[in-house]
Structures are given as C-alpha cells and as structure tokens.
Symmetry: C2
Subunit: 193 residues, 2 copies
Amino acid sequence: MKVYLAGPDVFLTDAKAISHRKKEICARFGLIGLFPLDNEIDEAAGKADVPLSMRIFRCCTAMMDDADAMIAHLTPFRGPSADVGTVYELGYMAARGKVCTGYSNRRDSYADRIERAPGVAPDCGGLVNLDRDGHVIENFALADNLMVVHALEAFGCPILAPHVEPADIWRDLTLFEKCAEWIARQKRGTAVS
Amino acid sequence: MKVYLAGPDVFLTDAKAISHRKKEICARFGLIGLFPLDNEIDEAAGKADVPLSMRIFRCCTAMMDDADAMIAHLTPFRGPSADVGTVYELGYMAARGKVCTGYSNRRDSYADRIERAPGVAPDCGGLVNLDRDGHVIENFALADNLMVVHALEAFGCPILAPHVEPADIWRDLTLFEKCAEWIARQKRGTAVS
C-alpha cells in the first residue's frame, strides 16, 4: 500500500532526513511512503522548457494518483492554518476516494491562533469575533478551518493532535507514526479502536 | 451551468451582500452561482446532534458535487497564502474534474509576502532564502504555493491577478467577473483568447 507523505516538510532545511525517517516508519508498518522530493522531476514531467514549478506540480499529482492513502502534516505554517500546498493535496486525495489521515503538532485551536481585534459584525448571527482585518472568526474549537478538519473525518481518520506539544513541532513524528499505524490497521481490515 | 463560489467571502461581515453581487454577475453570463452561505444547513446535513461545523462541511461538499465549475477567491487571507478552506475546495474540485478558475486581488508574489530572515540552508540546492522560522522559501515568482497556482492552469484557467490592486481587495469583483466570463465562454465552446 502506497502512502503519499504531504506536508511542509519539503521546506525544512533537512527535508531529506525527514523523508528518510518518514519512509522508515512507513516500512515498519508494511507501507510504502512516497515523499514529494523523491520525484525525478526532469524525466517524469516534461521537457526543460516546462517551468520547474509546473514539473513539480505534475510529479506530485502523479504521485498522489499512484498512492492509496495520505498522511498530511498539518502543523500551522506561516500563519494560523496549515500549508496550503498540503491542504490542496488533502482536497485532491479526498475527492479521489483515497484514505486521508493527518496530524498537527499544535494543540491550540484555529480561533485561538487568530489575533482578535475589537469590532462588531453588523449582520453575522452569533459569530461576532473579528480578526484585525475585520473578518469574522469561525469559532468551532477545531484545529483548523472546518473544511480541513472534517475532510479527515469524512474521508479517513480524524486529525491527530498532541496532548502536550513536542519540543520540535516541525520534526516530531509521534503523531505521524500513529497515522501510519492507523492506515496499516485499516489495510488489515481490523476494527479501529 | 452551476458554479461553486468559493472564498473567504463567507467571513466578511457583509457576506450576504457579496453573495448577492456574485450571483448576479453569474446570472448575467447565464451561470448559476452557488454560494456556501445559501446552504440550508439544518435540513440538508443531518440532525441537530451533528455538530454545526460538520453540517456546514457536508453542505459545502454536496454543493461542490452539484457544481460543474468553481470560481475560487484566492486573495491571501490571514497570512501569505489563500484561505485554506478555499484551497481544500480547489483540490477537491480539481480531482473531481470540474472546471477550476480563481483570482487574487493582490499582485505581489507568494515569496514577496514572506518575511525573510537571515540564514543559510545547509542542504537545499539553489533555494536558500529562509523565512523567520528557518524554512525554505520557494521562489517561483508565483502568486501562491505552486500546487494552488498550477492546479488552476491544469484544471481550468490560470489564476487571474490585477495589474493595479483595487482599493478594496476583499470586495472588488472585477477579476471575479472575468472568471465568470471565461467559464461562460468555455460553456459555449468558443475558443478562449
């Protein structure tokens, strides 16, 4: 069973080491981890006259199509939400009927991470917390935007978050391992606890 | 032809007015605009014991399944990237083979919007700009993360961005209208200029 390893891990300076560790964990559970940086960009995605970014896009898309499941690393990245590249991939995998799992190494809620500014929404029912741009803050006590969080519930396993935040939220793989274990258990057809 | 109107517009304090304007523009091009807030949450998505956020998720998913195309509002929201709810929906619609269009009312690039911090990536090839968390900044001079930008090219129309930023980046619908026009032209089977 092939598992697409989505996340902002590709932007870490030690991305290759993370990729190695993630694939090793997958292997322990009988899974084959597919990490975006493993793509052979030049050969698989068109000639050199195609921009590099488009070749990366095509390779990642082909990798997702090839995978049976995904583990999305959803720790908030450059703002209060997960990396948009990863979230795009979650939407793509969900719609293709793949098994979707994901984790965040932050334990606060999306609403908690948005800086609030005083203000009143003239016509917004019960939702009256505004951010500093004057936009309504959805406050469902969820780890991220509701589409992201509920997609995991609807198309796989609810998002995993830590009881205590790990020291290195970018590199701690405790919850990643739990996602891999969950996928492996599904694969064996065992009831999920 | 039904068009799903995705975007952080649902978080504007005057969301209903925006919805009305967007649907009116769609109608002018012979399109039926579906705006998330139009959902009849209680009736369509399960009983009151299902959390409101899950009912919203189910309604939006049903609306996307019902639509033939989407117009994604991708102006950066609460950070350097587009709203993750909207980006999730872009991934979902792309994978379902729907016609995807989108616009941003900012004209700078994703990389331009990320605050850079001095630093050197020990093992990252040519990409050596780091953000303040020490993460590599992808610098392809694109409007957002490459998965978002190229998804539109691959599954519809390249992202639209303004030559001059409008005074109100949240409510200006000039580029929205161009997306609607593009979809209508596709529908008529006319060659796209």
